[in-house]
């Protein structure tokens, strides 16, 4: 049973329920204290120990049902006067094949047990891909001794009075085949289906966002989930610890030390004070034609950021620059992106003009606690890039981060003024896959965003 439990834990991990060794030990202890007799109790106990969130409870339930589901297996019962075909059976070699005996007896439980044992020998649980299913079924049946059954059937058919036996065994064999297929199918569902999703997420994280056609609509939902997770991670690190300053706790050690100068009289009181920054983020996002493919992704990121960070000022620009906080607040993610793009998107980029808009109306948003994040390709259509304004922003802000969807080798080619802007940023990174974005959130923002 220990082995079964381990297999079950493996199936859970495949279904994206995280099970650590410590939890595996807990599971074993839980099983020890409740036993196996009561299925509901067994399930609830394992659930309490292993599933650690609401989603995981759902996944746990379905995995449990699939894993411990043993469909009743229909086997033809032997005819009541089952003794009369004893002789052809012996002649055909039934006695040497335990499987044939089980089939003839109609002993479904024994067959199911034999299948479990054979599956272990055949390594069915190692299944990874859907294309392995038929091969696995074959291996499973071979392990169970199908070859012998086929030989017995052939032998029985040759004998004049063995026809009935042959037919019965043949029906048993077909039932066995169906059962084995169902078994392998279930194993595939348990161990491999989850890895398919992981694989797709991995592919998506690596996919270039400004590739032709951008993100496949099919993957859009998944991408939004990924981006949201990233933004949330950023915000968790970032939004806490604002209310802790000046809560007025006496610092006894310091007070006593200071009191030494006054003969031990605590004359100067020292308080425990935590200095707390009030950080804020200004995000400026390019939605022009040249970044059309990536714009959607950049806006998704902006949207998620807006959802999770309290003090975020979001701006979008192509020809001109507008604040988009209100749009992001009032709409769902798709609606918001569409609306921003309708309002300002896909025009000729004018970095200089947009920077000027920003400097004229919104420069007061930038102070020494502010991190400014630019999302854009730095292609100015040969207009004046207004480096002076960029310099001004850099001087006022705590940090300027530029995330460019183009690879670094393209920077400075054609109308790109990225290299010139780069001088006025604290860090400029190429960021055209979700994987890169995640890394940047981990590395860059940890360093540059105060918390």
């Amino acid at each position: 049973m220990q082995h079964t439990l381990e297999e079950f834990l493996r199936a859970l991990r495949a279904a994206d329920v995280r099970v650590s060794p410590a939890e595996a030990i807990d599971a074993a202890r839980a099983v020890e204290s409740v036993g196996y007799a009561d299925r509901e109790l067994f399930k609830d106990a394992l659930c309490a120990v292993l599933a650690k969130s609401r989603d995981e409870v759902g996944r746990f339930d379905s995995t449990f049902e699939t894993f411990f589901n043993r469909q009743a297996f229909d086997l033809e019962q032997p005819p009541p006067d089952g003794d009369h075909d004893q002789s052809p059976g012996e002649a055909a070699g039934v006695a040497e094949s335990p499987l044939a005996q089980m089939l003839l007896r109609g002993d479904a439980a024994a067959v199911a047990q034999a299948m479990e044992a054979a599956a272990e020998r055949a390594g069915v649980a190692e299944i990874r891909l859907s294309t392995q299913r038929s091969r696995m079924t074959r291996r499973l049946l071979d392990e169970m001794g199908l070859a012998e059954i086929e030989r017995i059937i052939a032998n029985a058919r040759k004998m004049p009075e063995g026809e009935g036996l042959g037919d019965r065994l043949d029906r048993g064999r077909r039932a066995l085949l169906a059962q084995a297929q169902a078994y392998v199918e279930r194993q595939h569902e348990l161990y491999a289906a989850g890895s398919g999703k992981a694989l797709r997420e991995e592919m998506l994280a690596k996919k270039a966002l400004n590739a032709d056609g951008g993100i496949d609509p099919v993957d859009l939902v998944m991408m939004q989930a990924l981006v949201k997770r990233m933004a949330k991670r950023l915000a968790d690190r970032y939004s806490r610890r604002r209310h802790t300053a000046n809560r007025g706790h006496l610092d006894v050690r310091k007070t006593l030390r200071k009191s030494m100068a006054h003969g031990g009289v605590p004359f100067e009181i020292e308080w425990k004070i935590k200095k707390v920054d009030k950080p804020s983020i200004v995000a400026i996002c390019d939605v022009s034609k040249s970044v059309a493919a990536a714009a959607q992704f950049l806006l998704t990121f902006l949207y998620s950021l807006n959802e999770v960070v309290d003090r975020l000022d979001a701006f979008a620009f192509s020809g001109r620059l507008i604040p988009v906080n209100a749009i992001l607040d009032d709409n769902g993610v798709e609606g918001a992106i569409l609306k921003v793009l309708q309002t300002i998107g896909f025009q000729q980029t004018d970095y200089g003009r947009s920077l000027q808009d920003f400097a004229e109306s919104h420069l007061d948003r930038v102070d020494r606690h502010t991190t400014v994040i630019f999302l854009g390709d730095g292609r100015s259509n040969f207009a004046d890039p207004r480096l002076d304004l960029m310099h001004l922003i850099q001087q006022r802000a705590r940090a300027v981060i530029w995330l460019n969807p183009e690879p670094e080798s393209y920077w400075g080619q054609g109308d790109s003024v990225m290299h010139r802007y780069e001088r006025f940023t604290h860090v400029a990174k190429s960021c055209n896959t979700l994987g890169q974005l995640e890394r940047i959130i981990e590395d860059v923002l940890r360093t540059y965003v105060p918390h």
Binding site: A22, A30, E40, T244, V252
Partner: protein, 317 residues
Amino acid sequence: MTISKTAPTRAGADPFASVDGLIEGLGSVGYIASRRIATALYMAVNLQKPILVEGSAGVGKTELALSTARLMAKPLIRMQCYEGLDESKALYEWKYGKQLLYTQILKDRMGAALADAPDMDAAMDRLHGMGDLFFSEPFLEPRPLMQALKQDDGCVLLIDEIDKSDEAFEAFLLEVLSAYQVSVPELGVVIAKTPPLVFLTSNNVRDLGDALKRRCLHLHIPLPEAALEERIVATRVPGIEAALTSKLVAFVQSLRTLDLRKPPSISETVDWARALILLHAKDLDPALVRDTLNVILKFEQDITAVEPQIVELLARR
């Protein structure tokens, strides 16, 4: 942060011996538990692990801890979490005033004690020999966590709304939750003689860390099915008629299928039942529902969304 002692309930069979016993035991103190809840509690007691209870507001997370304390006849120590909660409020605090007074006494006595020392070295030796009481137990003001660890007969510790506290505080809880001990730098380690039964509740304001989750059993309390909810209402509101109970539960259940900002949870159903009893209502009619809708719905836009549908919802059974 209160301690409440309750009289022991019925003596006899240990309700923690089996899951069924636990359901019955919880029922006897007025908490109708589903099987999953009882199993999780049973595991928590048997494996001596804290139990993390999640679920939307008003499904009875805190009530579960209160009822368990009542059932075990042990004191309940409750700690409400909030942003900015730190160890000086959760664990212990030094009694500063007394410490300062102590240094004053020390200073006054010091002269007499050291007067006959021949030289500086001897005086210092004597000073070191005197024993330092400055950081010692008598000057310690225990806060809820410390109190819970110091209850020699065990207790139920309720850490309410852990998701509202800071991440740093969560990390600080890990030692308490896994080893039932805390380290006080000046004193050493305080270990609980009888580990308390710990409940943590969370509303999912933020995701809790994996380290914390791993140390706890997890229990998600969903909104109950109609039958269970009827039993809860019947237990909580004695004297309500069965026909009215099933009608109002059916109505609340149908409300939950609508897209509301805050669907009513169990506590709202119970409140509503109480309100209807006060109004001597015998039956649910649309006018009555309209008048009392603000008991179950807490947002203006929810009320305006539901009002035109009342008749239809009442008809739907």
